[in-house]
Symmetry: C2
Subunit: 297 residues, 2 copies
């Protein structure tokens, strides 16, 4: 008699079937991690696409229907929507269910989602550090998380068994796991992710505001450096709006440092201080070597 | 009787066999554009490597020996070295020889090289918009210029035949050609290339200055955005120092605009003005689409 291997989860509900949600669905399916994968999305087009692309077994606009009987719920919607969704689904969450998320800010998620989670449910915030500049259910692919880090920020007293299950899920999807304090996570991400995106959005915005004829030339000659910024400045606008509003303190702090450094460089250029420029430009090469060594290039 | 096809140039002298110089040598060779390719480099290691890698027919440390009898001389050294090199090679330049360059700033090159060029020599500044974050003779490859733009900024009264020959050279190497006023070139490049590099250097520098333990985490989680900046901030330090010092006016002007825009964004984050953030983030997506359409992505 054949017996199929047990699934890590019986029913996974993905709330929000955008780039991350759909990639997760692909990865769960490909790795046989869930018996049933369902999704809910407020956007009827996304629901239709998720069904059409066969990303999930079931798709609905009803968050409560999706989470019913689920042993894992992963919130994959922009941060500003999480508080309302958590309150809405709370009464429908099954006993022993794990609720997690994928947001780029962790303190705000704990603040917004935490209070709604019933005592019989395990809430474990998570952040897979992966993404592309594309959005929507058709942008997802199973390999998105491979070789990338996933940071878990469990609250004190989190159930060890639940934590281990969530950890296993991300590991099987190909991620490397790190456990971190939520506050520390938000500071690290402010530097590695939020500031770079803010700068990229700004520089592309500055270029957009220049005269129309020059704009065409900026696009044409973008291979000289500008291009690299436009890729990350093409990321989802709502998601990024929410990140900046919800990691305000840490972002403003690194932004302040950046502005000081930029002003110093501006002054060096104005006064022709070539040695200062060269010194910085030589130093920044080292960081690149570190990234190549860590296989994150 | 077999007759080999005529070469566009009989003897090409490449002064400076770094990334661009060696890529050019590869491209000239691969496309049969020169009967003989020689190079000169002040760095004896570069001379040795150029010979060892068989990039050129002859390599020397003597600029004058290299340019003797050449019908094309291409200066591929950092901007700050050009004035001295031009004065040094001037007496050795053959009648009707074309002298060109590959620098990212054109007004400064005209200012520094122009006065030394004898009347019997054609001076045609050029800028192939191509590069990688790697440096040195071993970094070059023939395809570097394929599908990329090369901007020519000929001075008034430039010999049409000489201009056409230089144009053909870059076209055969795979480039698309644009002719531009030097001043306009410097303004366009300040936005598309110099500002992005300055910002990338700054942000990587800001991250380098933080506490050592955090630095390792910045490297580890760099895939979340930071990584894209480290690539361009790994470009050649001397080359970039010279670019900023020699396109000062245009760089400071776009930098001023950028700083204003960044301050406005900083204020929007501080005051929680989500609509302003979202509006900008949606607008910047359009530019990316333009770049994809222009096949420069």
């Amino acid at each position: 008699m054949n017996q199929s291997p047990p699934f890590l989860f019986e029913r996974v509900a993905i709330i929000g079937i955008g780039l991350i949600g759909s990639s997760l669905a692909h990865a769960l399916r490909q790795n046989g991690l869930a018996r049933k994968i369902v999704c809910a999305d407020a956007n009827p087009e996304h629901v239709k696409k998720a069904v059409h692309l066969k990303i999930v077994d079931e798709a609905t606009r009803d968050n409560c229907a999706a989470v019913e009987n689920a042993d894992l719920v992963i919130l994959c919607t922009p941060i500003s929507s999480l508080s309302k969704i958590a309150a809405e689904i709370a009464p429908s969450l099954a006993n022993g269910c794990i609720v997690s998320d994928v947001s780029s800010v962790k303190q705000a998620v704990i603040r917004d989602v935490g209070p709604s989670i019933p005592a019989h449910v395990h809430f474990i915030p998570a952040h897979p550090i992966a993404g592309t500049e594309h959005s929507g259910p058709e942008a997802g692919f199973a390999e998105l998380f491979k070789g990338r880090w996933c940071i878990l920020t469990p609250l004190p007293g989190t159930d060890e068994k639940a934590l281990k299950k969530l950890r296993t899920l991300w590991e099987v999807c190909g991620s490397m796991i790190e456990v971190m304090e939520p506050r520390h996570h938000d500071q690290v991400l402010a530097i590695t992710s939020h500031l770079p995106h803010l700068i990229a959005y700004t520089i592309v915005g500055t270029a957009t505001d220049i005269a129309e004829d020059l704009k065409q030339e900026v696009i044409r000659y973008s291979a000289s450096g500008f291009r690299d910024f436009t890729r990350i400045a093409a990321s989802d606008p709502i998601m990024w709006r929410d990140i900046f509003l919800n990691n305000r303190e840490a972002v403003l702090e690194v932004l302040q440092r950046f502005s000081e450094d930029l002003t110093a460089l501006q002054r060096a250029i104005r006064w022709g201080e070539g040695d200062k420029l060269e010194e910085l430009f030589a130093r920044t090469r080292e960081i690149r070597r570190g990234i190549i060594k860590e296989k994150q290039a």
